[in-house]
């Protein structure tokens, strides 16, 4: 009576297997190779009917997809360059620039605020926080004063020049800090995409003026 009931490890008894038509003689030899990736078609499929309606639909479909590819709805990855300057780069960049400025034309009222352009979190407040702090400002001024005195002793230069220089340094430091802050903020390279000091653009322009690159 041990073989009765459910369980016991086996799902079907010998009789049941036989009732299902599986007998020992019938068992196919074991196949060890994996099945083919592209199995052969057993039956040839029916031919597709080609009428004017189908032709029309195929054309319309291609047009629609082409439209989407041209529209800003088609999201493109930022192109990476391999550092080799090519003649075609200029045209590619021109084509890219034409598309880049476009934002998808949506009904912004129907979108969550985080998707709206320039919406989302207020970034400027967090950015300037450090400077608002009076202690910070005092500290910064002190360090700058120290530097000034050191440099004064080091070399003799016109005072006006010195001031200009200082300002420049200050600005650069500020910029650097802002960048760092942003990066920490997001944990992504989101901010990097936007950061463009305009140097590349100038270079490109020059190249255009000089004539084509050979």
């Amino acid at each position: 009576m041990a073989g009765r009931g459910r369980g016991n490890g086996k799902s079907l008894t010998h009789e049941q297997l036989q009732a299902l038509g599986i007998t020992r003689a019938d068992n196919a030899p074991q196949i060890l190779a994996p099945p083919p990736l592209f199995p052969k078609l057993e039956v040839k499929p029916l031919p597709l009917n080609c009428d004017a309606a189908t032709d029309y639909m195929v054309i319309v479909k291609d047009q629609f997809i082409e439209y989407l590819h041209e529209s800003p709805a088609y999201v493109k990855a930022n192109t990476r360059t391999d550092g080799i300057e090519r003649y075609s780069d200029k045209y590619k960049l021109l084509a890219l620039d034409a598309k880049k400025g476009k934002v998808l034309d949506c009904v912004w009222a129907n979108m969550p605020p985080e998707l709206r352009p320039h919406g989302g979190r207020a970034r400027t407040t967090t950015r300037k926080r450090k400077l608002d702090d009076p202690i910070e400002i005092a500290k910064r001024l002190q360090t700058l004063e120290k530097k000034e005195s050191q440099e004064d002793t080091a070399m003799e230069t016109n005072e006006n020049e010195e001031e200009v220089k200082k300002e420049d340094e200050d600005n650069e430091e500020l910029l650097d800090e802002q960048e760092q802050e942003e990066e920490i903020d997001d944990g992504t390279d989101y901010a990097n995409n936007y950061f463009d000091n305009g140097e590349d653009y100038e270079d490109e322009d020059d190249a255009l003026d000089d004539g084509p690159v050979y």
Partner: protein, 501 residues
């Protein structure tokens, strides 16, 4: 929400909106609903690109969002499948309402949602120089209004702000047929589009199109089964149905035979139908695949359109064909036998299908493997002998079989789309070159340059290149056509699922 659906949805997104939207779509499909931050984390894409992708998805109604403490996005996979049905909508418009309606719907499908003024003015400006179309803003406006009246386009949901929150909630609104002023439209055409005050947005009502497709399918089935007059009668009955009952009702409310007779008499150039309306009704009732049913005898007989039954019948025909084409006519015989007997034992299948024992078993198991038939074990109480005998009853669960067929379709759609993108990638350079040559030649023809120069440009495509590119184009065309066919099958199956089980 199956694995196959996810694969095909991903392919469609990739084909239409590029790899990045595809990645975001995949992520949303896998996890159900997610916030932006989570998507950024799992996909590893820059935040700007994720935002752009979500804008695209939301614009085309391919995703929805839920406003809670944070905004969570959800993929709307059913609507993504509809993207491959767009050509069919346009064909329907063109054949039923003419090219003006087609242009309006095409523009609206491209814009996803749009105000009436912007829509009409854009269409007008687009085809302004086309003398063949000969567009007229008044006609265009009338077409728009008739489309809105017929329900092919409807008003888009309106955003409502809950107090205190910035996140809008989309609320569907009833469509009010607009009263557009031609003078305003004319003015909008000349001035800048951005500063028009119209803020009622419109979008395409897919469901209305689906009703049309379903009716066409039923009429075509009757036409093929009986004849064109019967098809015409079916059309009249469906028209009558829309007057009295909801569109996706399981059965329509009864229509009197005399009403139908009156309607039939009003149809021109169908003398046979005029003469034999009653006979046609009788034939439809008895031999019309039970699309209609005689509900009562009052008023010369009352007839009911059984839409759900029709969907089932059409689905059964589709399944029969699927089995025939995949496993052969003998398997189809077994399939039909099982369906007609409801529950049947394996031995009886062999006897009734009149097939050799082994072959019959093999085919039955294959059907079982494809989930087109199911098996129900019935255990007899253990007899004294100790051997618990069970009988296995084979039967067709239509709902499960429909799911199996849907899976097959989705898998095929994925494969088709995959193969075509591979073909396109393999011949990308050649296809690009051909397109460029074509546009140059077109420009030269417009400018009226000598044939010699045009030939020179045409010869830049060498004969082997030409043969390769035409081969690729033929394949792509066949694959597109196959995709459209698959969509028809998918539509039929979704018709069946539209009714309550």
């Amino acid at each position: 929400m199956t694995h196959q659906l996810g694969r095909v949805v991903s392919q469609i997104l990739g084909r239409h909106f590029g790899e990045i939207v595809q990645q975001v779509g995949n992520d949303l499909f896998m996890y159900g609903s997610k916030t932006i931050g989570m998507i950024v984390k799992t996909t590893g894409l820059p935040r700007t690109q994720v935002i752009e992708s979500l804008r695209t998805l939301l614009k085309f109604d391919l995703a929805t969002f839920e406003a809670d403490a944070t905004v969570e996005y959800k993929l709307n996979s059913e609507n993504i499948l509809l993207l491959i049905r767009y050509p069919r909508y346009l064909l329907q418009m063109k054949s039923k309402y003419g090219s003006e309606a087609e242009m309006i719907v095409e523009e609206l499908l491209q814009q996803a949602s749009c105000t009436a003024t912007v829509l009409l003015v854009t269409v007008m400006n687009k085809y302004k120089d086309d003398k063949e179309k000969n567009l007229n803003i008044v006609n265009l406006k009338d077409t728009f209004i008739s489309l809105a009246t017929a329900g092919y386009i409807q008003q888009a949901p309106v955003a409502e702000l809950k107090d205190g929150s910035e996140i809008p909630i989309l609320v569907p609104v009833a469509t009010i047929v607009p009263d557009l002023d031609v003078r305003d439209l004319m003015q909008a055409m000349t001035s800048n589009l951005a500063d028009c005050k119209d803020n009622t947005y419109w979008k395409v009502n897919y469901d209305r199109f689906h009703l049309d497709f379903r009716d066409d399918m039923m009429i075509k089935a009757i036409t093929r089964r009986i004849d064109e007059n019967a098809g015409e009668l079916m059309r009249l009955m469906l028209e009558q149905m829309y007057l009295s009952s909801s569109a996706w009702a399981v059965e329509s409310s009864p229509a009197a035979a005399c009403d139908l007779r009156d309607l039939a008499l009003r149809v021109h150039d169908r003398p046979l139908l005029h003469a034999h309306v009653d006979h046609y009704l009788k034939v439809l009732e008895e031999n019309g695949a039970s699309f209609i049913r005689r509900a009562g005898d009052a008023g010369g007989g009352q007839y009911v359109v059984r839409t759900k039954r029709a969907a089932e019948q059409l689905l059964e025909a589709l399944l029969d064909h699927t089995v025939t084409e995949r496993l052969g006519s003998k398997a189809a015989r077994i399939f039909r036998l099982i369906r007609s007997k409801k529950y049947i034992e394996e031995e009886d299948i062999q006897k009734n299908a009149m097939l050799p024992n082994k072959e019959c078993k093999e085919l039955t198991y294959k059907l079982l493997e494809e989930h087109l038939i199911s098996v129900q074990p019935m255990r007899k109480a253990a007899s004294a002998g100790g051997s618990a005998k069970a009988i296995y009853l084979y039967h067709v669960k239509l709902y499960d079989a429909a799911h199996a067929a849907r899976e097959l379709c989705l898998r095929a759609a994925h494969n088709v789309s995959r193969v075509s993108s591979a073909t396109r990638a393999a011949h990308a350079r050649l296809l690009d070159k051909q397109r460029r040559v074509r546009s140059i030649v077109h420009g030269m023809r417009v400018r009226g340059e000598p044939q010699q120069n045009i030939d020179d440009v045409l010869e830049t495509l060498t004969p082997p290149e030409l043969s390769a590119v035409s081969g690729a184009e033929r394949r792509l065309r066949a694959l597109s056509a196959a995709e459209l066919e698959l969509d028809r099958a998918l539509f039929l199956i979704s018709c069946y699922f539209a009714f309550p089980r």
